[in-house]
């Protein structure tokens, strides 16, 4: 699998650290309540198909990249810098 870093171009998957679903872009407010935080921390849509998740370009430029990809075919559909995607959610 190759992932196109918006800054560095197409790179080997091994350059990236995977942190999971892009829910991290929608971090709840500290006082949002236990139920909201439980949902944010633990529960996942976990789709069989197109998903958006967070990859950190650890061995490259150090950016957080939102990758849109297919969990069934492993096709990478698109990438964007997390800073441009904030608030769009998973």
């Amino acid at each position: 699998m190759r992932i196109t870093c918006p800054l560095c171009g197409a790179r080997d998957r091994r350059e990236f650290y995977y942190s999971g679903a892009a829910v991290a872009l929608d971090r709840p407010a500290p006082e949002a309540g236990a139920e909201v935080w439980d949902d944010y921390l633990h529960n996942r849509d976990n789709p069989a198909g197109v998903t958006r998740d967070m990859w950190y370009h650890e061995l490259g430029c150090g950016s957080w990249v939102v990758v849109t990809r297919n969990t069934v075919s492993h096709e990478v559909i698109g990438t964007a810098l997390a800073r441009d995607e904030k608030g769009r959610g998973a």
Binding site: R13, G20, A21, L41, H42, R44, N46, A48, D53
Partner: protein, 417 residues
Amino acid sequence: MGFSGWRVLKEGLTGNKGWQPHWRDATPKSEYDVVIIGGGGHGLSTAYYLAKNHGITNVAVLEKGYLGGGNVGRNTTIVRANYFLPGNSEFYSHSLKLWENLEQDLNYNVMLSQRGQIMLFHSDGQRDAMARRGNAIRNQGDDAEILSVGALKRMLPYLDYEQTRFPIYGGLMQRRAGTARHDAVAWGYARGASERGVDLIQNCEVTGIDREGGRVTGVQTTRGAIRAKKVAIIVAGRSSQVAAMAGMRLPIESHVLQAFVTEGLKPVIDHVVSFGMGHFYISQSDKGGLVFGGDLDMYASYAQRGNLPIVEHVMEAGMTLMPMIGKAKLLRSWGGIMDMSPDGSPIIDKTDTEGLFLNCGWCYGGFKAVPGSGYSTAHLIATETHHAPAARYRLDRFRTGRGLMDEEGTGSQHNLH
């Protein structure tokens, strides 16, 4: 139809013409007492124990593919009870005891081979941690012993003890651990359940879960609607999709785990050897193939196949641990879809919908759990109370924070297990 040595001899002398199919390939009825979604190891064992222990035989197991075609046929067949934490410890202890009597119970050869498993350690600190784990295992009533590096060298002369990044200081051994023939476990449970009246229905995908007034009433399938008093979701990697049919969003992320087998070789590896530092473990099958695996690919996936970086990583780990395997030729690799929970421990629980039960979150350790999981899930379905060895596998532990079982000590968070 019973199996015995005499039967094998007789059939061998008469052209093997007397063997019958091991279970009935049933067509769905319109209503059951219990519908089990998922005809894998856990679903089949649940059906078997429902019938055997609780006398509930008006049961259907619905499988969208073929019986045992998922993870129970794709794993590396290891059986053990060497867990540390309360909750896991008693569960796997119970499961191993069921394994030890499984062939007699099922009248089916699951080829359980208690060849012993050794977890290697590579520092004084790891030795202390393994000693502590070993004590916990013994407190649970199971066996564990620390092997010195000298004892290990006599037992496993083929390891590279010195010239590696992680010199070997010794190992924690469980002699009752070992391997079993994974397909036979599915077939044996299927046969035992079918003989007791359970309908095993293949090519029957569940497309909806019917509910009325907070209670489950049945399922919609590709082979028609089926009414049911109770429904259990036991679908491993597909748990999120099936639970969503009942309006649930689960603390599960599905990941791919790869496994590998070499061409058949003469006996060379007599035990199960785990090299945690390198994410590598290995045993040798009865056909002679070296069966081994490593870590997850580490991204959400339903592909049942992985990528090359992990293949390379696993081979590297194998080569550094036991350089001799470099001469073996790799025959096949494959992947299975793991239902990963945040704390790395499973869930056997009721749900907010009355009559709807959930069994998932087995991560990469589901095979050894097959007997215990079915036994405890059947108990929960039949009695509506939690079976003691699985009583801590609650769904709400993530919400409340009480009773998390983070066996690896890495944190109760997705992507850390």
